[in-house]
């Protein structure tokens, strides 16, 4: 084991030899990820709470529009954007950094180098998002969905991301394994795709806006791909690592996982333009987007089969693991949300779902029921290993699971049922060419659904508080009090368990 750590130049030099085989034990990798990993988790959880607060304000405004209505910074349009940006760039991205980079380090089997670069990237990323949210609230918002953060923070975000990305590449370059596991593909690809998407979108939408509806096309190419090529690969990479890992059973078919990766990479990035169906954009783009959206059935079914076959027969054991509960919930919802998404890209279905709460429900289905739940699962597995401490309360974990799982299912159902009915009401035209329902009737129809949605949001909030308390408790509890020297999760299997 070499005593001095390599310099940054050594690590980046293309000619440097790989060090003597120093295949680190997993616990050594975990220890070297302790500071940055914990930082990302804490940042993510704080952003989750901030995002939840903005979500609650938004929900109240739906049922009581004049709530905080006299304060400009809390007007609906800004609070809504603050919610979106804090959950996407605050919560989801920090969570993806935490879990994704930790899985990357573990699969590279090398004690990570240059955590200071990673920490610098982490700190500046979060400062950038804070600046962005403040910018949105004070009125510097860019009116492009998913890109609301003002132009003066985006270079900072880009540089921070580059620092984090460089770190990932260094870790990968010095890996001590021959084989590149499928999770590494997903994570590596995600780290390559996001900067490309982001710079293109920033240039064509913020700094040198493109002409006419090219803006809209670029907007949806970007926004849908943040989900499809950044968050989805991170979520799937985590599931592909942790499902077999926790259960101690290799993935059902490694071949299928490879196949699923390439079909996802090929089709997902065309799908975004289905947000413009019926709009003033060239018809061929919409057709291409529709075809790609439908083709997404292939990778989705492949992943579904693979995950299901890995878990099958171990449901009872898996249920006893918090990680598996959250991740299997997320994986099942990945299948459902993706199939709904493919259907929504069909013109006839889109006619009813477009411009309604159905789309909002779909976004929450993908980002919460799939991605966020998988990230919760990842954190439940990762944090005890980073901190060498056990989770303080099983009750809080169960509260977290049931409240968020039932809450998000209620929310998705409420939004999509309401959205579908609204879509039907909107489009119904009587025989003499007039509309069957006035806009007033439609607005009034939505009111009770807004209340139901607030109830579901309240349930999710309770779950988030349970998680938040558990994380804070874990961080600040004395490390040696009333617990074994090692987390129970890490102890070697006992003799009875082995027998």
């Amino acid at each position: 084991m070499s005593s001095q750590s390599p310099t940054l130049l050594d690590s980046l030099s293309p000619t440097a030899e790989r060090q003597e085989a120093l295949r680190a034990r997993l616990s050594e990798v975990d220890r070297s990820m302790r500071t940055p990993g914990t930082f990302f988790v804490v940042a993510a959880v704080l952003w989750l709470m901030v995002g939840t607060l903005f979500a609650l304000l938004t929900a109240i405004k739906f049922t009581n529009p004049s709530f905080l209505g006299h304060t400009e910074i809390f007007t609906f349009g800004r609070v809504r954007s603050a919610h979106l940006n804090s959950v996407i760039y605050g919560w989801a991205t920090n969570a993806g950094f935490a879990v994704g980079l930790w899985i990357m380090a573990r699969l590279c089997r090398t004690r990570v180098r240059h955590t200071r670069i990673l920490m610098a990237g982490a700190v500046f990323w979060n400062l950038g998002v804070i600046g962005g949210i403040i910018g949105i609230l004070k009125g510097d918002m860019v009116a492009v969905e998913w890109l609301e953060m003002p132009g003066y923070v985006t270079p900072l975000l880009a540089i921070s991301f580059a620092l984090i990305g460089v770190w990932a590449i260094i870790a990968f370059r010095w890996r001590q394994t021959d084989h590149v596991y499928v999770s590494q593909w997903y994570i590596l690809a995600a780290f390559f795709w996001l900067p490309w998407l982001y710079t293109t979108a920033q240039i064509l939408l913020v700094f040198e806006p493109a002409k006419g509806v090219v803006q809209s096309l670029t907007n949806w190419w970007f926004a849908h791909n943040v989900l499809g090529l950044w968050l989805t690969p991170l979520g799937l990479g985590t599931a592909y690592y942790l499902i077999p890992k926790v259960l101690g059973r290799p993935i059902y078919s490694y071949y299928l996982s490879v196949y699923g990766f390439w079909t996802l990479a090929l089709f997902y990035n065309w799908a975004g333009v289905h947000h413009l169906i019926g709009g003033p954009v060239p018809a061929w783009v919409i057709s291409a987007g529709t075809v790609a959206s439908v083709m997404m059935v292939i990778p989705v079914v492949v992943v579904a089969v693979n995950h299901h076959m890995t878990v099958v027969g171990l449901h009872r054991q898996g249920w006893r693991s918090p990680t598996i509960r959250f991740i299997v919930f997320g994986a099942i919802n990945y299948t459902i949300v993706s199939l709904i998404g493919s259907a929504m890209a069909l013109r006839d279905v889109n006619l009813s779902t477009h411009f309604t709460d159905f789309t909002v429900g779909h976004a929450h289905h993908g980002l919460y029921a799939f991605y966020t739940m998988i990230m919760f699962g990842g954190m439940y597995y990762m944090l005890p290993r980073l901190l060498n401490r056990e989770w303080p309360s099983a009750f809080l974990i169960k509260t977290h699971f049931w409240m968020t799982a039932l809450g998000i299912l209620l929310m998705v159902n409420v939004l999509q049922i309401c959205g579908w009915i609204v879509g039907e009401m909107m489009n119904q035209v009587t025989q003499d060419g007039t509309v069957a329902y006035t806009f007033q009737q439609i607005v009034e129809f939505r009111v009770p659904w807004h209340w139901l949605r607030s109830v579901s949001g309240f349930m999710i909030t309770i779950g988030h508080f349970a998680f938040f308390i558990n994380v804070v408790w874990m961080l600040f509890r004395p490390s040696k009090a009333d617990q074994p020297s090692q987390p129970t999760l890490l102890t070697r299997p006992t003799a009875e368990a082995n027998a």
């Binding site: 034990r25 997993l26 616990s27 699969l107 394994t177 084989h179 590149v180 596991y181 499928v182 690592y241 077999p244 890992k245 926790v246 259960l247 101690g248 059973r249 290799p250 993935i251 078919s253 490694y254 071949y255 996982s257 490879v258 054991q317 898996g318 006893r320 693991s321 918090p322 990680t323 598996i324 439940y380 597995y381 056990e390 989770w391 303080p392 309360s393 099983a394 974990i397 169960k398 129970t488 999760l489 890490l490 299997p493």
Partner: protein, 62 residues
């Protein structure tokens, strides 16, 4: 350009892509990229977290 010329260009590119893909697959097969494919699924386990052993439980409930 007329529709026919567009089609011609499209056919040329489609052919290139098709044979490019086919060649990539051929190359991969020839270079043993597909050998022991399923073995890759086991690299996540080691002596600390071995295959065949569940590694996560609710605290205090294992």
């Amino acid at each position: 350009m007329t529709l026919l010329e567009y089609l011609g260009v499209a056919v040329i590119f489609a052919t290139l892509f098709f044979f490019g893909g086919a060649f990539a697959l051929y190359w991969a097969k020839k270079n043993n990229q597909f050998n022991n494919l399923e073995e890759g699924s086991r690299v996540i386990f080691d002596e600390e977290e071995p295959e065949g052993q569940q590694t996560d439980f609710f605290p205090g409930e294992r």
